[in-house]
């Protein structure tokens, strides 16, 4: 494997990499993906949100408030840490970790919830809702809701409530109500269905804080914009600490918010290769995974956008499988779908076994316990780094910390508390 730029600057579809920073178009399309495929009952709410966002996005006062909260509440900038011991052990490129795990609440998710909570505040709505998989977005939403005095209801698949008990209790301590969702596959996609149903019913009083770069326009755009602080910092820190841009970026991809956040500010840097790592579950070849891009799933429409979507021949959305609740989603953000098609990002998968190995390795060699989601990115770093020279550099988004996953790993080790 090489880490040269991913290919020609102009692709078959005619999209230049430099065009990629100007997506989406006014109707929320990223090339053939994205859009606003929603019931008419939601159109008003989305138009309203779009108007609010567009009016505030370039408002210096809003930006200043966002930056202030990121600095003093979240603790940004997060460090770019050189994992020297692990790099030596892998025997190749130098690995740098973008430490989103050190943010308040322990993951990148809070960047977006801070931003959306500010929007909610501007709209004057007293209640926020969210969907959550691993619970990180739910915790980040409950956190900002507590701070702003907003009522907060979090929808979570009943299956995920079981496997992420610690985060469920954290949300409750923060004053949120966690509503287990029993429909469908009882995971993240069903939580999102239920949150959309709630929103459509309570739109006058409720702001829906979506946690990933999926959903109907303008969510993929605004969630990206709020998370792009990760990539902007990483770019600046690379120039300061490495002395140049890195050769490669790696991030895990479920819906894809942490990957978009890291990648987006580097999109025009053709020499920086990018790898999005999906949840390979039992292995992509087994069909039991959550990797729509790397398995080349058909295109489809779910949750308001067109994207790569795991579904059966009849168009019913497939069950997904992953050790990590946060990546257990059959679709993926529409901007990632476009980036795959134009060849800007390489999408690969790491299976559960490789992920656990990476989880243990980083914990034991660097004293940093990653979230199982982030361990997908680390698993690919283990593959990529040895193919590169020691004067080359990889930035891995360590998108969250692993405390929430201790029970899951313990269960695999046969330990019950």
């Amino acid at each position: 494997m090489t880490v040269s730029a991913t290919g020609a600057h102009e692709t078959v579809s005619g999209t230049r990499f430099s065009d990629l920073t100007r997506m989406p178009d006014v109707r929320g399309h990223f090339g053939p993906y994205g859009g606003r495929f929603v019931s008419e009952t939601l159109s008003y709410a989305l138009e309203d949100l779009e108007k609010t966002y567009l009016s505030l996005r370039d408002d210096p006062a809003f930006q200043a408030e966002f930056d202030h909260d990121l600095a003093h509440y979240v603790g940004r900038p997060s460090p770019l840490y050189h994992a020297e011991r692990w790099s030596r052990a892998l025997g190749g490129a130098q690995i740098w970790l973008k430490r989103e795990d050190l943010n308040h609440t322990g993951a990148h998710k809070v960047n977006n919830t801070i931003g959306q909570a500010l929007l909610a505040k501007k709209t004057g709505k007293p209640r926020v809702i969210a969907e959550t998989g691993a619970g990180q977005h739910g915790v980040a939403t409950a956190t900002v809701a507590a701070r702003l005095g907003l009522t907060c209801d979090v929808y979570m698949g009943a299956e995920d409530v079981q496997r992420q008990k610690l985060n469920v209790y954290r949300m409750r301590l923060l004053g949120a109500r966690v509503i287990p969702v029993e429909s469908g596959t009882r995971t993240l996609k069903d939580a999102m269905n239920e949150a959309l149903r709630d929103w459509v019913t309570n739109v006058d009083t409720t702001f829906y804080i979506i946690g990933t770069v999926a959903g109907p326009h303008p969510y993929p755009q605004l969630v990206r914009d709020f998370n792009a602080v990760v990539g902007r910092e990483a770019r600046r820190q690379s120039l300061e600490q490495i002395g140049r841009l890195p050769d490669a970026l790696i991030a895990c991809v479920g819906g894809g918010s942490n990957a978009i956040g890291l990648f987006y500010p580097f999109v025009e840097d053709d020499a920086v290769a990018m790898y999005g790592v999906e949840a390979g579950g039992d292995g992509v070849e087994t069909g039991r995974h959550a990797a729509p891009l790397s398995s080349n799933a058909p295109r489809g429409v779910l949750h308001g956008n067109r994207t790569y979507l795991m579904s059966d021949d009849a168009g019913q959305v497939s069950d997904t499988h992953s050790i990590s609740a946060g990546l257990d989603y059959p679709g993926v953000g529409p901007e990632h779908a476009l980036w795959k098609d134009v060849g800007r990002v390489n999408y690969v998968a790491a299976n559960d076994k490789e992920v656990l190995e990476a989880f243990r390795e980083l914990t034991q060699m660097e004293g940093i316990m990653p979230a199982l989601e982030s361990a997908h990115a680390l698993a690919h770093a283990k593959v990529l780094a040895p193919t590169m020279r020691s004067d080359q550099h990889i930035v891995v988004n360590l998108s969250g910390r692993g405390d929430k996953d201790i029970m899951t790993v313990a269960r695999i080790d046969g330990i019950e508390f």
């Binding site: 009952t41 008003y44 429909s183 019913t201 058909p298 019913q316």
Partner: protein
């Protein structure tokens, strides 16, 4: 002339309002659906909305969600549903049939292949819940050239500008969603509905049909006073759910729910 337009013009001459039942195809099992359709026609249905079951029915409440789950558990696919319409048409060539569902099953078949088959089996209209007119650039014309009506939703929250767009693209009838929320939610307020329908009358000659919240003869009759048609879904699907274990009595149950509405509306 499309069967839907034909039906509304007949109703207008008779001074009657359309009664439009919805059931989810394949619920509780695929072999019963065509029989249910005939039973609904016998009870006074003017148009039938046949729901395409989907794994993620985001705009539906628990009643229709569970109907989808029952139908999918029995393996109901969109291609089967099109076969059901073909079978229905062998005995009924006049009652319009509208398919209502979500986009992804149609995307998997392909827009053109779906439109071909739908026209061939005798479908008259298509309502894709998660495809507003802005996203229908490609699909809409494929339906139109086959004389299949694109039917759209209008909500209480729809802005004037959007309503104009929807009226410009809509065919067959407009489906006015009487409540904020999902299907099967609380009961509606007929005078509130009338207030929302008035401005739409200035924008379009399409029949205005009202759904969400119609549970019995009383609500059906109230809505029929202000609208051109009454759409009833969850009240019927509830009966299917109650008797899912004894499917042989469901047709009779559907008939009695709908007949009560028909009588009340025509009184």
């Amino acid at each position: 002339m499309n069967r839907i337009d034909q039906r509304f013009s007949e109703l207008k001459q008779q001074g009657r309002k359309a009664l439009i039942p919805y059931i989810t195809a394949g619920d509780p099992a695929p072999q019963y659906t065509v029989g249910f359709m005939h039973a609904l026609v016998d009870a006074g249905a003017d148009i039938i909305e046949l729901g395409v079951p989907f794994s993620d029915p985001m705009a539906d409440g628990p009643v229709i969600q569970k109907a989808c789950e029952r139908a999918l558990k029995k393996g109901t696919r969109l291609v089967d549903l099109l076969d059901m319409v073909a079978e229905f048409r062998q005995a009924d060539t006049t009652t319009p049939v509208v398919l209502m569902g979500y986009l992804n099953p149609i995307e998997r078949i392909g827009y053109e292949a779906f439109a071909d088959r739908a026209a061939e089996v005798g479908v008259d209209g298509v309502l894709v819940v998660d495809m507003p007119p802005e996203e229908a650039d490609e699909f809409g014309p494929l339906l139109k050239v086959r004389n299949l009506a694109s039917i759209f939703l209008i909500a209480p929250t729809t802005s004037h500008a959007r309503a104009a767009t929807i009226c410009a693209h809509g065919e067959g009838y407009l489906y006015y969603v009487s409540l904020k929320g999902v299907t099967g939610a609380a009961t509606l307020n007929a005078s509130d509905v009338a207030e929302h329908l008035a401005p739409l009358r200035d924008m379009t000659d399409l029949p205005l049909c009202v759904g969400f919240g119609i549970r019995d003869g009383v609500t059906a009759a109230e809505v029929a006073k202000v609208a051109d048609g009454v759409i009833v879904g969850s009240a019927l699907v509830n009966r299917i759910a109650e008797h899912a274990e004894t499917p042989e009595i469901i047709a009779g149950q559907l008939n009695s729910v709908l007949a009560e509405m028909r009588t009340a509306m025509d009184a």
